[in-house]
Amino acid sequence: MSSMAMPAVSAPREPVAYRLYGKLGWTGLAVTWGGLVLLALLYYLTAESSALHVPDYVIVLIGKIMCYAMVALALDLIWGYAGILSLGHGLFFALGGYAFGMYLMRQIGHDGVYKSELPDFMVFLDWKEYPWFWAGTDQLWISLLLVVLVPGVLAAIFGFFAFRSRIKGVYFSIITQALTYAAMLLFFRNNTGFGGNNGFTDFKRIAEVGITLPGMKFTLFLLTAAALLGALLLCRWIVTSKLGRVLIAIRDAESRLRFCGYDTVGFKLFVWTVSAVIAGIAGALYVPQVGIINPGEMSPANSIEIAIAVAVGGRGTLIGALVGAGLLHGLKSWVTVAFPEFWLFLLGMLFVLVTLFLPQGIVGLWLRLRKK
C-alpha cells in the first residue's frame, strides 16, 4: 500500500465535540422534530380547503428528504468517525428498498395490468412461479427482516474481506463504487428477477391498506421521522461510547492503534454493518413514499451524492449529515424543476467549492464561528 505515496487519510483536525449537542443542540432537535410532527398532523387533520392544510407533495418531499438524511447519517457514521469513505452506500439503500419492494409487489395481488398472481414483469418474462429468492416475501415480517438482513449480511461479508486485507482509503472507496456499479448492471438485467430497467412500481397497498390513502402517508411520514431520530440517537450513542473513541483513533492513526494491540477489523466491521443496515432501512422507508425503486438508485453517481451531502453538512458531526442532506436535496428538488440544465453545474461547483473552502462543512463552520 505504501507504494501509493498516499499520506494518511486526513481528518478534521478540530476537536470533535464528544458530548455532541449542548443545550442548544437538544433544543434544536426537539424543535425540528416537533415541527415535523406538527406538519404531519396539519396534513392529516385539516381539510384540503383549509389554509393550514399541508399539500400532498410537501409530505412526500420531506419524507423523501428524511430518507436521504438517514443514508447520509449512516455514511457520516463510517466516514466522519472511522474514516471509511464508502461510495457504495446507494447499494445498501437500494437493497433495503428492493427487499421491501418485493412485499409491495406481492401486495398488488391481482390488480396488475395482466390480472395475474405474479407481478407484471414476470408475466412479461413468461415466468410461471416466483423464483426462490422471492420466497416468503408475501409476509410483512419476513420482508421487514430482509430489509435488515440483506444489506447487513452483504456488508458484513464484503467488509470482512475488505478490512481483513486492510483495504482502506481511496482503494476502499473505489472498490465500493465498483461493487454498486456491478450490482446496478446485475439489476438492470430482466432475468435477474427484479423488474430490470423499470424496477418495482405501481404499488397498491401495505398490509391490505391502500398506499395512496392520507392515513397511510401520514403513518409512513411519522415512521420515517421516528426512524431518523432513532438512527441519530443510535449513532450518537455509538460515537460517544468507548467504541466511538476507538473509531476516531482508527480514523486518525490506524497503524498506531494496531501496534497498541487493538484488532481494528472487528471495530470497523461492526460500525460498517450498522451503517449499511441504517441505509437499508432508509431505502425501505423511501420506496413506499416515492412509489418506485429501480436500479438507477445503485448508480455510482447516486452514492457519491450521499457523500457530498455529508461533506456539505460537515463530517464527523452526525447532525451535519442531516443538515447537508436537507440542503442538498431541498436545493435539488427546486433547481431541477426551475432550471433543469443548471443543476449539474451547481452540483459540480458544490463538490469543488465545499472541498476547497469548506472542508468542515456548514456545521464545522458554525462551530468555529461560535468559538471565536
Binding site: 472507496s173 456499479y181 438485467r189 497503524s255 469543488v352 472541498t355 472542508p359
Partner: protein, 535 residues
C-alpha cells in the same frame, strides 16, 4: 448497387460502339425475353445464365431498371433520350413517341435479379462479385451451377471463394441426383463459412419420422462434415475472441494509461479522467467538422490532425484542473476524489450545453473501414487493428517519456521522495502540473481512438471510469507493466466470459474477480518492492 448498374450501363454503351451486342445473342432469345409470356421470359433468362456470358449483363440490368421498352416490333434499349434497337444494334433516331414498358411480374423480376447476380460473379471488381455472391446465397438455382463453377474456377479472393463453395453446395444439396448431393456434402467439409453448419444440420434434420435426406450414406458423410466444420469454426471463433479481447484490452489500456500516471505515479484520484477521454473524443469530432468544411479533399487524413489536437485539448483542461483545484488537495485523496467528481459533472454539463445532449457522429476515414478476412467467420476490422497499434504506440511513448526524458526523471523523483526532490532543486509543483497534463493528454488520445469505434456523447467518460480504475488497481499502482498486463488480461477475460455467459454477467464476474483478487494482493499484480508502514 445503384453505382454498379450505372457502371454496367456505361460499359454497355461502350460495347454498343465497339462490338454490336446483338450479334452475341440470338434475336429469338431477345424477343422472347422482351415480348414473351412470363414462362418464356424465365426460360430465356435461364438460357442466358446457362451460357454464362457476361455480356448479357447490361441488357438484363436495363430490363430490370425499366430501360427496355417496346415500340411496335422494335425492342428498344433506352438510355436517357437515346434509344438503341436491341435486335439490330443500331441507334434509332428519332426515338419513337409511342413506347411501352416491358412488364415484369414479381416472379420474373426475382429470376432476373438472381440472374444478374449470377452473371456479376464474373465481374472484374471484387466488391461487385462479393455483393453478387451474397445475394445468390439466398436464391441460387440449379441452372446457375455451370456459371458458379466457372466463377469458382477463376476466383482468387478467399471470402468470395468460400461463399461460392457454399452456394454450389446449397444448389447441389437440393438436386435429385444422389451423387451430386454426396459430392456437395463432401465439399462442405472443407468450408470455413458459418452458414455451412446450418446447411449441414438441414441435411440431418428429421421431418416427423423420416429424415429429409433419405440416403444413409449421405447422412453419415454429413455428420463427418459437420464435425470437421464445427472444429474449424471453433478455432475461428476462439481466434475471434482473442482478437476482440486484445482490442478491448487495448482500449482499456489507452483509457488506463493516463490514470496510471495521475493515480499510479502522483496518487491523485481523478474521477474526471473519463471526462478527459470524452473531451478528446469531442476534439476529434471538432477536427472532423473543420476538415469537412474547409479541407474536404483531405478528409481521410483528419484523424492524423485530430491526434495532437485531442491531446492538447485534454491536456489543457488537465492543467486548468491541476492549477485551480487539485494542487490545493495534494495529500487529501478523499477530498480530491470528491472535487474531481464535481469537475466531471461540470465537464459533462458543459459538453451538453456546447454540443447538445445527443451523441455526435464521428466518421471513420475510408482507410479504416473494412477489414481483413482470415477465415469465413473471422474478419479483423481495420479500425480495431489501427487502435491496437495506436495503443501500443502511445504506451511506448509514455514509457520513453518516463524513462528517457528529464520530465520523466523528475516525475519519478517526486513520486519516490517529494521532500528530497524539492531539496535538490526539482521544481515539484511545476512537475506536478506537467505530469498531470501528460496524464490528461493521454486520456485525450484515448478519446480520439474511442471516437472511431463507439458513440461520442457527453456520457462517454462515465462508461470507462470504473473500468479504467479497475485496470490500474489490478495492475498495481506506479507500474506501467502492470497496467498493460491488467488491461490486456481484463479485455481477453471479458470477451471469453461474454461468449459464455452474456455481456452483463461477464462484466459482473470480472468486477467480482477484481474485488476478490484485491483481497489476496492489495498491492496489485506488480507491486513495488519494499517495506513500509503507511501512516
Amino acid at each position: 448497387m445503384k453505382r454498379n448498374s450505372l457502371v454496367s450501363i456505361i460499359t454497355f454503351i461502350a460495347l454498343c460502339f465497339i462490338a454490336l451486342p446483338a450479334s452475341a445473342f440470338k434475336p429469338a432469345l431477345i424477343t422472347k425475353l422482351a415480348t414473351g409470356e412470363n414462362e418464356d421470359k424465365i426460360a430465356a433468362i435461364g438460357e442466358l445464365v446457362a451460357d454464362g456470358d457476361a455480356s448479357a449483363l447490361p441488357m438484363l440490368t436495363a430490363l430490370l431498371d425499366g430501360n427496355v421498352q417496346l415500340a411496335g416490333k422494335q425492342i428498344l434499349l433506352m438510355n436517357g433520350e437515346e434509344a438503341t434497337d436491341l435486335l439490330t444494334g443500331r441507334k434509332i433516331a428519332p426515338v419513337p413517341a409511342e413506347r411501352e414498358d416491358v412488364v415484369l411480374n414479381n416472379r420474373v423480376r426475382r429470376e432476373l435479379e438472381s440472374a444478374v447476380s449470377a452473371l456479376r460473379l464474373l465481374a472484374p471488381e471484387r466488391d461487385v462479385r462479393l455483393t453478387a455472391a451474397k445475394v445468390l446465397q439466398a436464391n441460387a438455382e440449379e441452372s446457375m451451377l455451370p456459371l458458379i463453377r466457372k466463377a469458382l474456377a477463376i476466383e482468387k479472393d478467399t471470402e468470395i471463394r468460400g461463399l461460392l463453395t457454399i452456394i454450389e453446395a446449397t444448389v447441389q444439396l437440393g438436386s435429385k441426383d444422389r451423387v451430386a448431393r454426396l459430392a456437395a456434402v463432401k465439399a462442405l467439409a472443407g468450408s470455413t463459412n458459418p452458414a455451412t453448419k446450418s446447411l449441414l444440420l438441414g441435411v440431418l434434420e428429421k421431418k416427423g419420422d423420416a429424415f429429409t435426406e433419405p440416403d444413409a450414406e449421405i447422412r453419415a458423410e454429413a455428420q463427418n462434415a459437420l464435425k470437421s466444420v464445427e472444429s474449424t469454426l471453433a478455432i475461428g471463433e476462439r481466434l475471434g475472441h482473442i482478437f476482440s479481447g486484445i482490442s478491448l484490452g487495448s482500449i482499456l489500456l489507452l483509457a488506463a494509461l493516463g490514470l496510471a500516471i495521475t493515480y499510479g505515479l502522483m496518487g491523485v484520484i481523478n474521477m474526471a479522467h473519463g471526462e478527459l477521454i470524452m473531451i478528446g473524443a469531442y476534439a476529434t469530432y471538432a477536427v472532423q467538422n473543420q476538415f469537412r468544411a474547409h479541407l474536404s479533399g483531405a478528409f481521410d487524413w483528419y484523424l492524423i490532425a485530430a491526434i495532437p489536437v485531442s491531446f492538447m485539448a485534454a491536456a489543457l483542461v488537465g492543467v486548468l484542473m491541476e492549477r485551480l483545484v487539485i494542487r490545493f488537495l495534494y495529500g487529501r485523496p478523499l477530498e480530491t476524489l470528491l472535487a474531481t467528481w464535481g469537475i466531471s459533472l461540470l465537464l459533462i454539463q458543459s459538453m451538453r450545453t456546447l454540443f447538445g445532449a445527443q451523441n455526435v457522429q464521428v466518421e471513420n476515414p475510408a482507410w479504416m473501414s473494412g477489414g481483413i478476412a482470415l477465415m469465413g467467420n473471422l474478419v479483423l476490422p481495420w479500425n480495431r487493428i489501427v487502435i491496437i497499434g495506436f495503443a501500443f504506440a502511445v504506451l511506448a511513448a509514455v514509457w520513453l517519456t518516463l524513462t528517457r526524458t528529464r520530465l520523466g526523471l523528475f516525475v519519478r523523483g517526486v513520486t519516490q521522495n517529494r521532500a528530497m526532490a524539492d531539496c535538490v532543486g526539482v521544481p515539484t509543483s511545476r512537475v506536478d502540473t506537467m505530469a498531470f497534463a501528460l496524464g490528461s493528454g493521454i486520456a485525450g488520445l484515448a478519446g480520439c481512438a474511442l471516437s472511431q469505434i463507439g458513440n461520442v456523447g457527453p456520457d462517454l467518460g462515465q462508461t470507462y471510469i470504473v473500468d479504467s480504475f479497475m485496470v490500474v488497481v489490478l495492475g498495481g499502482v506506479g507500474q506501467l507493466a502492470g497496467t498493460v498486463v491488467a488491461g490486456m488480461g481484463l479485455g481477453i477475460a471479458n470477451k471469453f466470459l461474454e461468449a459464455w455467459s452474456g455481456a452483463v454477467l461477464a462484466k459482473i464476474a470480472v468486477l467480482a474477480f477484481i474485488i476478490i483478487f484485491i483481497q489476496k494482493r492489495p498491492q496489485g499484480l506488480f507491486a513495488l518492492k519494499g517495506r513500509s508502514v503507511e501512516n
